[in-house]
Amino acid sequence: MGDTFGWVALSVAIVVLIGFYVSWRATRLDRLHTRYETAWAALDAALLRRSAVALDLAGSRYLDPATSLLLAAAAHEANIAGPDRRELAESDLSRALRAAIDQPDLDGRPDADDRFTDVRAAARGVLIARRFYNDAVRVTLVQRGRWLPRVLHLAGSAPLPEFFEIDDAPPDRLE
């Protein structure tokens, strides 16, 4: 009788412990998802800020109209691109910014560097936000790939996070 009680108590204890462990794993995963979502919001904001700054520069009449048109078109495309086209459009914006700001005849133009303070900050912001975002994606993917979360569906219906791969090299002049 006492023996049976001992076994039952042990089993309950094990079940409770497993429960705690699973719940801890789930909380950890949930925290990672929150980190991932925060990182995405930051990256999204940094990208929007960069396209806004590019549009400002295009409209400032500091550059020639052909360069301004290129820049405005690229910024606009990046702004309205759907999720499946976004990486391409943002890479194109990076290239358009480099073409506009690294053009040879800009050297020696008055206040050339002051003009690009905002662009420099915005480009740097994208670089940083993207690094943090991709790091969050990597950690989340590793955790979700473990057997326990997979078998028990600990991630629930949260979509699988994806890396954001773009060419975000800033113009040479702004390095």
Binding site: G59, D64, P65, A66, S68, L70, A96, A99, Q103, D105
Partner: protein
């Protein structure tokens, strides 16, 4: 012509790369020169020292590959290009400045910016992505206001201009360089004793109508054991051949994509040139080229072709998409060399209305409309940099 004009033409795309706008500018410039005008063309250029470059061309440096409208375009932009155009405008002392495709971020837009005075623009594209244009309209508005007269090369291009940029344009379609088509050696072995039909154009684009012609050949090829079919144009050749009865396959010759020169030779290698297009042609440029080559023509009865063929006087017409009708008409033409020769003669005469010389005269009328009694093109003082 009243008096010879000094015309400055701006081509926005790299001169030594093939393209519709470049070809247009070249044909127009040469036709204007032939009419006695002085022409200077400024354009981006990969190899400015190329000896083959025409004397009227002023190279403006290399165009730079840059993403635009979702693909990579080669464009000339930036202060360096602007400075080159400004110098050209200052030294050129033009009576009129003629920019091509000024809505693309390249040399033409820069020319509008740095110059003022009589200015004409030609719009080629029928659907530039309006989203980009809308985003940048504020930047362009002041520059576009300087254009005194706009020309559109097609109704579609005119519509695009009206819808996206405001303003209107006169319609002056592309010309046909009749002389380039007039004489050529047929390809070796063509047209051949058994007679030949011919087709030019994309072989996998349904609206070009190759399918209709292949179905017709299935009928007429059986009736005439020596008849061959010559096809020149890009697309999947194997796939096209699969649509032909195996017994007839060795009489269908696919050349693939051909050079401009071989295209002309192909036109001289056919007893009957077939244009089985089922629609989508705003101007029958392919048919007009065949007319210039003096090929007997059998074309589908769509509006564009009927117009350019003078209602059927300069070429035979068949019911759109009707392979049996095509086969019947082609058979009659093959049997009647006298009628073929008469059609070819009529075609050569009718196509003169579409010659570049005629087009250039129209363009000069536009120039004269924007040129005031005095004053010429000069550098604008307000095109500030910085």
């Amino acid at each position: 012509m009243n008096r010879p004009l000094r015309v400055g033409i701006v081509c926005p795309y790299t001169w030594d790369v093939p393209g519709g706008v470049q070809q247009h500018v070249r044909d127009l410039a040469e036709a204007l020169i032939e009419l006695g005008h002085h022409v200077s063309v400024i354009t981006p250029c990969d190899d400015p020292d190329d000896a083959a470059i025409q004397p009227y061309v002023v190279p403006a440096g290399r165009a730079v590959p840059v993403p635009y409208n979702g693909s990579v375009a080669r464009l000339a932009f930036g202060f360096l290009s602007a400075a080159r155009v400004r110098r050209w405008v200052r030294d050129g002392e033009f009576d009129v400045l003629h920019v091509h495709e000024p809505a693309s971020p390249s040399l033409s837009l820069l020319a509008c910016w740095v110059a003022q005075g009589p200015m004409v623009a030609t719009f080629h594209t029928s659907n530039p992505k309006s989203r980009a244009m809308q985003a940048a309209y504020g930047i362009l508005a002041a520059t576009f206001e300087k254009i005194g007269g706009a020309i559109a090369v097609s109704e579609a291009a005119r519509k695009t201009l009206v819808e996206h940029l405001g303003g209107d344009a006169v319609l002056i379609p592309n010309g046909v360089a009749v002389r380039r088509y007039a004489d050529a050696e047929p390809l070796p072995g063509w047209p051949g004793e058994g007679g030949s039909l011919g087709f030019l154009g994309r072989i996998d684009e349904p609206r070009k109508g190759l399918d209709v012609l292949l179905r017709a050949f299935d009928v007429i090829g059986r009736q005439r054991p020596g008849l061959r079919l010559l096809i020149a144009g890009p697309g999947d050749a194997e796939e096209a051949l699969e649509r032909v009865d195996p017994a007839l396959r060795d009489r269908v010759v696919l050349l693939g994509q051909v050079s401009e020169e071989d295209k002309v030779r192909a036109l001289h290698s056919m007893d009957v040139y077939c244009a089985p297009n089922t629609g989508g042609e705003s101007f029958g440029i392919v048919v007009a080229e065949a007319m210039a080559a003096g090929a007997p023509i059998l074309a589908s009865d769509i509006d564009a072709f009927r117009a350019v063929l003078d209602g059927g006087a300069a070429g035979a017409l068949f019911t759109v998409g009707d392979a049996d009708h095509l086969a019947k008409e082609a058979g009659e033409l093959l049997d009647d060399p006298v009628r073929r020769a008469a059609l070819a003669t009529a075609a050569r005469a009718a196509v003169r209305a579409y010659d570049w010389t005629t087009v250039a005269r129209e363009v000069v009328r536009v120039y004269e409309a924007v040129i005031p009694g005095h004053g010429a093109v000069r550098v604008a003082p307000d095109a500030t940099m910085g």
